[in-house]
Symmetry: C2
Subunit: 576 residues, 2 copies
Amino acid sequence: MRNDIVLAALFALAALLLPLPAQADVLVDNANGYTLDEEGNLVRFTGLVFDSDTGRVTDLLRRGDDYPEGLETRYDMQGRTLIPGLIDAHGHLMGLGYNAIQLDLSDTTSLDEAMARLAQYSADNPTLRWVVGRGWNQERWGLDRFPAAADLDAAVPDRPVWLIRVDGHAGVANSTAMAAAGISAASQSPAGGRIGRDGNRPNGVFVDAAMGLVASAIPTPEPPVRDMALREAQSLLLSHGITTMHDMGTSADDWSTVRRAGDRGRLGIRVVSYAGSLQTLLDIAGDSMTPWLYDGHLRMVGLKIYGDGALGSRGALLNAPYADAPGETGLALIDSIGLRNRLSRLSLDRFQAAIHAIGDGANRAALGAIEELATRYTDDRRWRIEHAQIVDPADLPRFGRHGIIASMQPVHQTSDRLMAEARLGPDRLVGAYAWNSMLRNGSVLAFGSDFPVESPNPFPGLAAAVSRQDANGEPVGSWQAHERISLQQAFAAFTINAAFAGFSEDRTGRLGAGLYADFIILDRDIFDATPEQIRETQVTETWVGGERMWVRGAADAPPMDAPIGPMISQDEDVGR
Amino acid sequence: MRNDIVLAALFALAALLLPLPAQADVLVDNANGYTLDEEGNLVRFTGLVFDSDTGRVTDLLRRGDDYPEGLETRYDMQGRTLIPGLIDAHGHLMGLGYNAIQLDLSDTTSLDEAMARLAQYSADNPTLRWVVGRGWNQERWGLDRFPAAADLDAAVPDRPVWLIRVDGHAGVANSTAMAAAGISAASQSPAGGRIGRDGNRPNGVFVDAAMGLVASAIPTPEPPVRDMALREAQSLLLSHGITTMHDMGTSADDWSTVRRAGDRGRLGIRVVSYAGSLQTLLDIAGDSMTPWLYDGHLRMVGLKIYGDGALGSRGALLNAPYADAPGETGLALIDSIGLRNRLSRLSLDRFQAAIHAIGDGANRAALGAIEELATRYTDDRRWRIEHAQIVDPADLPRFGRHGIIASMQPVHQTSDRLMAEARLGPDRLVGAYAWNSMLRNGSVLAFGSDFPVESPNPFPGLAAAVSRQDANGEPVGSWQAHERISLQQAFAAFTINAAFAGFSEDRTGRLGAGLYADFIILDRDIFDATPEQIRETQVTETWVGGERMWVRGAADAPPMDAPIGPMISQDEDVGR
């Protein structure tokens, strides 16, 4: 106790000897810095000052500005490009993680190699109850048949194994997996699916709808596996320069996994969470959005609501039948009254609603429900429509009203283009992926990737936004060129607009005094680059809250068991 | 931003003008203070100094000691008795809360009064899906019949109502509750129970085992009701001087409720949590005890395991048949192998095990399992046996080995004495509620109340521990007087030993430098009091982490909607 007082006196004395102010300011210097300001203007700077205690920016410096007093550390960025950490406004955090920890067989060139990889992966991951993999392609293997249970049994006899083909349309199970799923000679192929057989005996191959017979038997991952998945997801996001993500459809298990990480100081990225069910939302948040937790790393703000399905499976709800299936118009996953009731329930407690709407029918329904509620709740509610992929041109102007946020994923346009043309025909594509129309109509356009459906890498998204061309430059001359937007607009959609969409604009999305020092270093200047160059951009460093969380190269062997935290504490001291 | 720098400079300047040390020390002065020290010696003091920033004690002062430098605030306790906040090592936090918010009819003197109270309560609590009450007694009402559904329907026709009789052996439902529970003329009375009827029609009365037909239909409370229950539980605990409690059997819902409070700064007491199921433990804690959360207010450390049932219902597992039921020996709720496996699983991740064992058979089984594991894990595991009520004298010495903690509830002895005599006969009571034997054998004796089974008030527990007599002074001359313990020993069981049982001895349980300023002010000096006076002790103030959380009188109207926090910031300034 007496020691305490002596120490306190020593600290107080030390404080007298320090320059003012006493806070530990860090300078990131000699950068080619870009940020948007509050009004969306692009601002250039060369230096960024932040308080290492709070992790918040205290100043931006232009070339020639005086350095502030009291600097503790200086990092020289040697002219490299520095931008705010990017925000993915629509992703699935744990889905990305589960995907990342699955066995990836997509680069195997023979059955033997794949089975060796399988055996090794199984040995390396003793805590997994099931071994799940993907990416095999018997054609690439030079094999004239699908792999079979017998092949897998030889590699992993004692644990269930389930490997999905590269196209996602077939899977192969080992005998243990089939036993766990209750598959026997008596099992019948379901409609739209096929159980592969040797004679009468299932041989391990399950095609299309039959895949569910095995997949439904895979248990929920145990907490250690979920923790591993979250670590991998965080590493991936940081490596792509994503410092904040909006988690669309957080389950109770997802939340407890993120909290386990947060409780232990292992939550490196920031997560704005939209619960996957009303019960989950109420259980976690109670009667209002949670406060920001873990120094701005986690908050649950609202609910993800599914308005319809997806275009590929013809589940997107259309106003008129599918061009390639004239009897079908898709699926309304919630009816009009149900949607209004749900929005009404959310609004009572000021929870935010994020409505998944892909088809023009679902978008119309969502707009109608929002307009009704928005006349009752005229304050700042930030209604979100997720995807907003296919919109009747007559409905496009409605997006700008009531501050509706169009939360879109530019890479979907390049991935889905041909499929969308098939599903809709040429005439109904006028309001498809209509980014520029959204902006012209005054909507807030927020961008994401829908990872793991797409890669979480935001740079292909930025490239798609400005070009509406895919990685091969297709189609030549762009697709609906009038819906392209400028790089600055696309950048805003991944930064300030995404922050706004998550009620976070006072914390993230740009670099300025009082906001978090979330920033990334790039291998090129994206504001002086072709779309192809933008697409290939690599992040070299990712900083969150003033801590360097990821460095290219250093992360090749990610510190899986270590808390996520600053990898390097400082480069060099500043002598003053 | 420039404002920030100006402010920082001003703060730095202000710091120069303050006396050293700079921390904000608070003096609680002129107290009749008692605490145990690390070795369990009783220490007296008159002043307590704590740092209001950390909420931790920096010094204890004896009369005549110099005041430390840098005091900010002084509270004059005017000679009142001050002791560490008490720790209840075995309670049910949410159970206490649900109990507290139920309608209490125990003091009603007529059916009309009870029904008026019911109608008012229903109107006052519009968010409740079911109205649940307890405590009615038709004899006290001067009524020659049980109340019936028709009586309740007149008071509350539109919501399910379920009212339990004072003895817990009957309940009455209104028509809405019976409909919700699917009760009809066709419903059959279960074995051991009876559905009351008018002719063929159920009249709302359900006796003994039939009560479950209605009770099982009561839905899990919604989050707002859980939040209300937690607030009430905290108020009750604080009013009885309990600043830390060990929650025995935390469910996932309980945990999310406590976290909602913690996230919003509304967790006033400290909770050491033992999960109610392994899945809940793993979902919440993952692969190790959680860290301390919310500045030492919450931690999950292990698992509550049920070894047997209770004595009253003859579920306690006995080595020989019940004296009053010669064919019965009780219930083993987990078999010997299962218990060893569970302890083994917990031990891998260093989780703590708290085994409920009431009968001598269950205690023997728990001791056997612990001894087997304790030879493998020889480090500091702190195995806990909860209740340890009836122990074969031959097994008593085993408690002291391997650091086993006997977590007992002294009030149970007075409440259960006659029932225990009936169940066991006179010969098997030698090892019953054997507190002194536990101490003599070197066990760590931790005390609690098992609230809401008993009141959370620890003072009747202290009185029972030193007297083994109930509130009426029965039995004259004490019951097994050799198992009485000294007040200092009982005080240790509610303080330092309970802290040790929850891996918290570096934070709570006594007052000393570095530990939390958790303390209570009493209306009398319990160390100069008869058992009867100890039993009637009232807490007048409860402080947690240096914040005055509860004051008698001021808490008559608890601030239900306000964050739990310091009620009064300071009494008077200290002129220096």
